[in-house]
């Protein structure tokens, strides 16, 4: 023993033992174990003694020795079962309040589920592509002197070729794609189909990991091949095997189907592509892959796995400099990784900013959380207001020895149970309204019922909701004093009342915010819709000339169409009227400062264009065929272009252009027209210059006779067109429909905000209704006595209702400045916007107050009308 005396028992084992061992046993057990340790150390070995000590410690893990193991006689299982039963009984006994809670929670959880799915869909954008992490798009920042830095994605084809040839140790693949989808007409023996898709280099299929159902992923190597989507294959060939079949594009090019890919899901950047055709085919005959001076290409790269995208960005930054004009500004390249394409691809002055889409994600996410909070508040308010009913229960439980934790768990179980029931009903409702939601949000979301994450998220959500709504009532109710609560006449106290009022104010603040938001969004949309567009949209059609057969026949078309009686006027231009394609800088005029080089929307039109679209001349004259000298010599500009050029009178001023795209370098301004809204109707109009040509142009505009019925006019028009160009695919679009499409995003937001507003006010009023019912019930006797003493109905109504109405008035006062701040921020991103007028908040507040008065009065008037005898009788 003596020489081993310095050895001590393992500290850690001792700590463990003391952690679980009952305190009263500590001394004897530690003593026994230590004796055993020394005994073993002496007779066997120290190591053995140590190992044995651990063994002995674990052997003490027995019921009799463990702390708190059934320290008292309560059976926890039974207690929780009992809690559960009491919770259910409580829910069932107070059917009205439970329904209010259940209804509010169900509605708000439905919103949370839908918005959650929507957010997930937005955040997982493009995750379909298996190489997502390594894919980037090459972007270009324009540093023009005296202007904000602009970021664009259109690049010359030579850049992509350079990247592919000289930087192959950084990139697995480089692919160039025509910068926007092209609408083409495909013909098979099933008929003509207008489809939109992309012209792409063969490597693109690999970069975007197209899932080839049939055929080869490298199928685009041949210039006369095409990859088509599963859907298009069905349309073109039905059940036949589409592979290696021949289809005709635009009536003049034969292509062989080299592969069929699975349709790209809706949450990918290329989801609208129903075909991919070779880029070589697109540029065949007019450009090649080494051109530096034509920007019509998007360039995509797949970096090697160990290469950082930021490294490549700095490497390629200056590649454009040798090929651009230093004076018009420097152009720097960078890579935009794929995970940023959808939500982080907006730039202001070269810096990434939170774009519209990201703002919507935040906005809707916040709205969903607030709506959930409103429902939780209902639960809190109703259960604390109803504390009196349960005061006796709590008092008895406490005097029987319930610990505060046990009482709290009772209330938390109650709220979690309710939250879970609500979640289940919310799931059912979400399933039912999902198609409708998809319709509004333009999504194809499905409930991911087979995804375990979805379920764990859902259960987590109901637990959090239960805790959120249950914690305060649990703290509040479990703190009640047992003697006071058993004696009766217990008063909830002013603190509770104040807290409830604060919560009600919060609820109505949110509701009023959303109501005024709805009004403002709709005002803004209407404001932009009423904006003069500078041309007349009604009865105006555009016919894209997609076939060679339609060219060279303009005069015939024009005379025949007009002769048919269906058409008033026909004109042509090189771009559609509902977008701002075609932009150039490099213009010069007298009085321009040398460093100023703005870009203009430049379109080429023919003599009849102005008459057809009905533009409004404010100065000078329209082009006229009586003056052939107008061709390639005269231009018409818009008012904003005139302002930009700084002219008081623009007519007869000279305009010079550095290139000769438009048939010359010197032009005379002969007229000024009102600004035409071709692009975003919420933004400032693009300054535009219209050039005149006597060639035929790719877009034909047709103004129908308003007197004729549209269907009749269209039939006549089609007969004429078919007569002149029998085999050309013929389709047309109404300009007013295309124009209306520009408001979709805003209208969608408006619809969602209004739904949120309705739900918010509904949930808040539901809670208000519950509170009022509760209070009037409590004051039944008081009402009876007041009535007996001669109080009138209006007297009673006032006594009972005013308390509930003034929090709403306070909410109005709080909500108005917040709404003003939020929505003036929102309007900031629009050039063409409304002035926020204060009456909007007035109206929202009045609406909220009116709804509250109706809700409250329903209960209070009912209570005031009751026969006082009945009120006083019940004892």
């Amino acid at each position: 023993m003596d020489n081993n005396n310095n050895h001590t028992a393992p500290r850690l084992a001792e700590v463990l033992l003391l952690w679980f061992l009952k305190e009263e046993l500590a001394e004897e057990v530690l003593g026994d174990l230590e004796e055993k340790f020394h005994y073993t150390a002496v007779h066997r070995s120290v190591l053995r003694a140590k190992v044995n000590y651990w063994y002995q410690v674990f052997q003490y893990l027995r019921p009799f020795a463990i702390k708190n193991y059934r320290s008292n006689n309560s059976k926890l299982n039974i207690m929780y079962q009992h809690n559960f039963k009491i919770s259910l009984r409580n829910i069932l006994r107070n059917k009205g309040y439970s329904l209010i809670n259940l209804g509010g929670l169900t509605v708000s959880l439905t919103v949370v589920i839908l918005i959650g799915l929507w957010t997930y869909d937005e955040l997982s954008f493009n995750s379909y592509h298996s190489n997502m992490d390594n894919i980037s798009q090459v972007m270009m920042a324009y540093h023009s002197p005296g202007e904000d830095i602009k970021v664009g994605s259109s690049l010359p084809p030579a850049l992509g070729t350079l990247l592919k040839d000289n930087y192959s140790n950084y990139f697995d693949e480089v692919a160039m794609i025509r910068s926007r989808p092209e609408e083409r007409i495909f013909t098979s023996d099933k008929g003509h189909f207008t489809e939109s898709g992309y012209f792409m280099q063969p490597a693109g299929a690999k970069i975007f990991s197209l899932n080839m159902l049939k055929g080869d992923i490298n199928g685009l190597k041949d210039m006369h091949s095409i990859l088509i989507s599963e859907t298009l294959a069905k349309k073109l060939f039905g059940d036949k095997n589409p592979l290696d079949q021949s289809i005709t594009m635009d009536g003049n090019t034969n292509l062989v189907v080299a592969g069929i890919y699975q349709d790209l899901p809706h949450n990918t950047s290329f989801s609208n592509a129903s075909y991919f055709a070779p880029l070589d085919l697109y540029i065949h005959g007019w450009s090649d892959l080494t051109a530096w001076d034509n920007y019509f290409i998007h360039t995509y790269v797949q970096t090697k796995p160990n290469v950082k995208q930021s490294t490549v960005s700095s490497l390629i930054k200056e590649l454009m400099l040798p090929h651009t004009d230093e004076e018009s500004g420097k152009r720097y390249l960078f890579l935009l990784p794929m995970d940023k394409w959808h939500l982080h691809s907006e730039f202001e002055n070269g810096q990434p900013v939170n774009g519209k889409r990201l703002k919507f994600v935040w906005l809707f996410g916040a709205a969903a959380i607030f709506i959930l909070a409103l429902a939780c508040i209902n639960f809190m308010n109703l259960s604390t207001a109803a504390a009196e009913r349960r005061a006796k229960e709590i008092g008895i439980r406490k005097s029987l020895g319930s610990l505060r934790m046990q009482l709290m768990s009772q209330f938390l179980i109650e709220s979690s149970l309710l939250a879970f029931l609500s979640f289940l009903s919310a799931l059912i409702i979400a399933t039912l309204v999902l198609p409708w939601f998809n319709n509004i949000a333009v999504k194809e979301i499905t409930l991911p019922v087979s995804n375990p994450w979805f379920w764990s998220f859902g259960i987590g959500l109901s637990l959090i909701t239960g805790l959120l709504s249950g914690t305060y009532p649990a703290l509040y109710l479990s703190a009640l004093h047992p003697i006071k609560s058993l004696r009766g006449g217990f008063n909830a106290g002013r603190k509770g009342v104040l807290f409830r009022k604060t919560l009600v104010i919060f609820q109505f603040t949110i509701s009023i915010l959303l109501i005024s938001g709805t009004i403002l969004v709709y005002q803004q949309i209407q404001h932009a819709k009423d904006r003069p567009s500078g041309y007349s949209k009604a009865n105006l059609l555009v016919i894209p000339k997609r076939s060679g057969e339609m060219y060279g026949k303009y005069q015939t078309f024009r005379t025949e169409l007009k002769k048919s009686g269906a058409v008033m006027e026909v004109g042509e231009a090189n771009y559609p009227i509902t977008n701002t394609l075609g932009n150039n800088n490099g213009f010069d005029w007298d009085g321009k400062s040398p460093s100023f080089d703005p870009s203009f929307n430049t379109i080429v039109v023919n003599y009849d264009y102005g008459k057809t679209i009905d533009w409004e001349i404010t100065e000078g004259r329209d082009f006229t065929s009586d003056l052939p000298s107008d061709v390639s010599k005269s231009v018409i500009i818009t008012e904003s272009a005139k302002r930009l050029m700084g002219f008081d009178k623009a007519v007869s001023k000279e305009l010079r252009f550095s290139r000769d795209y438009f048939g010359g370098n010197r032009f005379t301004i002969v007229g000024v027209v009102k600004d035409m809204i071709k692009g975003d109707p919420f933004q400032a109009p693009r300054p535009a210059i219209m050039f005149l040509t006597d060639h035929e142009l790719p877009f034909m505009f047709v103004r129908l006779t308003p007197e004729l019925h549209i269907a009749e006019a269209l039939t006549r028009m089609e007969t004429v067109v078919k007569g002149i160009a029998p085999s050309a695919p013929f389709n047309y679009n109404f300009i007013d429909e295309e124009y209306g499409a520009k408001f979709r995003a805003e209208e969608r937001a408006g619809k969602l905000v209004s739904i949120f507003a309705i739900l918010a006010i509904f949930i808040s009023c539901l809670g208000m209704f519950g509170l009022v019912s509760f209070i009037t019930e409590k004051r039944t006797k008081e009402i009876g006595i007041r009535k007996v003493l001669g109080a009138s109905l209006s007297n009673l109504w006032r006594t009972l209702s005013l308390n509930f109405i003034y929090p709403v008035i306070i909410a109005c006062l709080i909500a108005s400045p917040i709404a003003y701040y939020i929505f003036s921020n929102w309007l900031h991103s629009y050039d063409y916007k409304i002035e926020i007028s204060w009456w909007v908040f007035g109206i929202s507040g009045m609406a909220a107050i009116a709804i509250t008065i109706i809700t409250v009065s329903y209960r209070t008037i009912k209570a005031a009308l009751l026969n006082p005898i009945k009120n006083l009788q019940s004892e």
């Binding site: 004897e28 026994d32 027995r62 009799f64 020795a65």
Partner: protein, 108 residues
């Protein structure tokens, strides 16, 4: 009161408590058990059984004196009670009566 029948382990421990007298505390009892039966047992198991026997009323215990090898901690000394003694005798008598009915060994 809990069940009053004795298990084999319980019976042995009860006997050992009687044998050890003033030295009857968990560690000593476990050691004695191991040396007498050649069966390994943990102190925890012995302690748990002693605890159970106390709950049944067969043992009482009180804290005794301390010793240096216990780090100055006191030990709990168990003493057999009258009831404990009675059940031991009953158990022995019961077995003896069984033995006597056993034909081959009836006369020793």
């Amino acid at each position: 009161m809990k069940e009053t029948r004795l298990g084999e382990f319980e019976e042995v421990l009860l006997l050992l408590v009687g044998i050890l007298g003033d030295e009857a505390y968990a560690f000593k009892i476990a050691e004695e058990f191991e040396s007498q039966t050649q069966r390994a047992v943990s102190i925890g198991a012995v302690h748990s059984t002693l605890n159970r026997l106390s709950e049944k009323g067969f043992l009482t215990s009180e804290m005794g004196n301390s010793s240096p090898e216990r780090g100055g901690r006191r030990k709990r000394i168990y003493t057999i009670t009258a009831t404990g003694r009675r059940v031991l005798i009953e158990a022995r008598d019961f077995k003896t009566s069984l033995w006597e009915q056993y034909p081959g060994f009836a006369n020793g």
